[in-house]
């Protein structure tokens, strides 16, 4: 009993410290967006909502959130579907050198995200007529994210028992049906993880998006954020902080929604 109480206390203390650690740096974000004279110091704000109003009149701010959603949503859909197909096949059918290949692709993805790969990616996008299109951003970003996504999902499919698939097969289900109705429900937490992870990656990405998109009407929020700096490179902190807040909250809300609805809950068997 005492042990139980102590464990409870330990957990509570841990959660308290955790909340403190993650919340403390956010203080600035709680004050600066509402402060007429925001600086890089946390201070009691001269309260105002003018920063948010300024964003509403900004010709690109609101639209950029939609663009971010299109690009992130498109990439997430593409990555989840392609990675699920590939991960499932790789998990179930032995392909020689499969793990080595996956590692190599994964390592290559680190090169492509670096500044040095800008020129090849830009030339490629130019030749394929992908400049200034959402599709261009989605394809380029997905190419870079897929290896890691396959990697993660393969672990999830590896961990699902094959017996369900065998019985489904006995009842005459096709492989695609088995994947949709048997495997997908089982690896749902993994799929949700990949979706959220992809969205988060695209949401914050800047350099690639900036180079591929010319029309600011198509630019995502991460690019528009940088327009809120002065000609001398000084951030307009009240606006920058207000925009970041508006820009970040949708993803957190999405996570809360996804985690409540689709993932992160055990499904102890086939339910449908």
């Amino acid at each position: 009993m005492v042990r139980h109480v102590l464990a409870r206390l330990g957990v509570t203390a841990f959660v308290a410290v955790l909340l403190g650690f993650f919340a403390l740096p956010m203080l600035w974000l709680a004050t600066a967006p509402f402060d007429a004279g925001a600086s890089i110091r946390v201070s009691v704000p001269e309260f105002t909502l003018a920063n948010f109003r300024a964003l509403l009149v900004n010709p690109f701010a609101v639209g950029s959130l939609v663009n971010s959603a299109v690009q992130a949503g498109g990439a997430a859909a593409l990555v989840v579907v392609l990675a699920a197909l590939a991960a499932y096949a790789l998990s179930r059918v032995q392909v020689p050198g499969r793990d080595l290949l996956l590692y190599l692709l994964l390592l290559m993805s680190s090169i492509v995200t670096g500044t040095a790969a800008m020129v090849p990616i830009f030339e490629l996008a130019t030749r394929l007529n992908l400049i200034d299109t959402h599709l261009g951003v989605i394809l380029v970003v997905s190419g870079g994210l897929l290896p890691a996504a396959i990697f993660i999902l393969k672990d999830f499919t590896d961990a699902t028992p094959a017996s369900y698939e065998e019985s489904a097969r006995v009842f005459g289900a096709s492989p695609l049906q088995i994947l949709r109705h048997v495997v997908v429900p089982l690896i749902r937490p993994g799929l949700a993880t990949i979706a959220v992870w992809t969205v988060a990656n695209v949401w914050g990405g800047f350099l690639l998006q900036f180079i591929l998109i010319r029309d600011p009407g198509l630019a995502p929020g991460s690019v528009i954020l940088y327009t809120l700096y002065t000609e001398g490179g000084q951030p307009d902190l009240p606006l920058v902080s207000a925009f970041s807040l508006v820009y970040s909250l949708p993803v957190v809300l999405m996570y809360v929604f996804v985690s409540g609805r689709y993932g992160f809950r055990f499904h102890g068997g086939i339910k449908r």
């Binding site: 957990v11 841990f14 955790l18 993650f22 919340a23 403390l24 740096p25 956010m26 203080l27 890089i40 110091r41 392609l82 197909l85 590939a86 096949a89 179930r92 059918v93 032995q94 392909v95 793990d99 994964l106 390592l107 993805s109 680190s110 090169i111 492509v112 670096g114 500044t115 040095a116 790969a117 020129v119 490629l124 394809l139 190419g143 870079g144 897929l146 290896p147 990697f151 993660i152 699902t160 698939e165 489904a168 097969r169 492989p175 495997v183 937490p189 993880t193 988060a200 914050g204 800047f206 929020g221 991460s222 940088y226 951030p235 902190l237 902080s241 970041s244 970040s248 993932g263 055990f266």
Partner: protein, 304 residues
Amino acid sequence: MGTDAAGLGRGRAMAFILPALVLIGVFLVFPALWTVYLGLTDYRLTGLAAAEPRFVGLDNYAAALTDARFGSSLWLTVQFVLGSAVAGQAVLGFAVAWVARGLRTPVRRAVEGLVLLSWILPGSVVAFLWIALLDRDGGTLNALLNTPGTAWLLDHPMLSIIVFNIWRGTAFSMMLYSAALENVPPSHLETARLAGASTACQLGDVVLPRIKGHVLTNLLLISLWTFNDFTPFLLTAGGPEGRSEILPVYVYAIALNGGRLGAGAAVSFLILLINLVFALIYLRLLRARNAPPTAAAPGGRGPV
């Protein structure tokens, strides 16, 4: 291996893999190989070397390997990866995922939401947050600890960016482990608990074997990403005196500020090779421990 439970067959398996492979081939492998080739030239984006890049063989590699800055930068990066990713994000991420299971829903949402928010916020904004926290004059931390004038970012640059990166990146490990833990049937844990197993024993005997694949994947990925993470630059600008100049900052200085894309590409490839070493170490460590349980086949962490 007879795991083709769904009767996929090799042909259909290829069809499943192909779309991803094509996309990866066009938008990942192709530009990556091109970049590797650029690493063998003196290519620049502007200036005379942009008009006529010359093939310089391994000169860029030789230059990097003999540059003292590269050496110190590599060592700092290893510290950064071990400290913030392996010891920090992976452990804390698992702890959060584990503890969160037993929390009431609102508390759990608050914890997860905050952890996630620190991951989602744009890098430039995160930099402001942390400067506001660690600033020597007006910093929140100094106000809390009553240590006015302590310049955390200047006196402890590596510690600062390591703690920063733990804060920044724990969300991914948390998410991955939460999802992985969902696949550990609660009944198993319940049985272990009723049999009087302590938390440590539950973790070691019941949980770890089941999520070993996820642990490996997680370590590989977060190491790779941390190796390539540029955000600390926004906090310390690599300084003071290069004492927090990790490799991505080094590449940035060469490739974007210096415009030497060839040299930058070469260093990127070196980073890749170092990551390969890390990957091999993780594999060896986890495989060695993987020996006793049933699914020990290399690469095929088969169905349980």
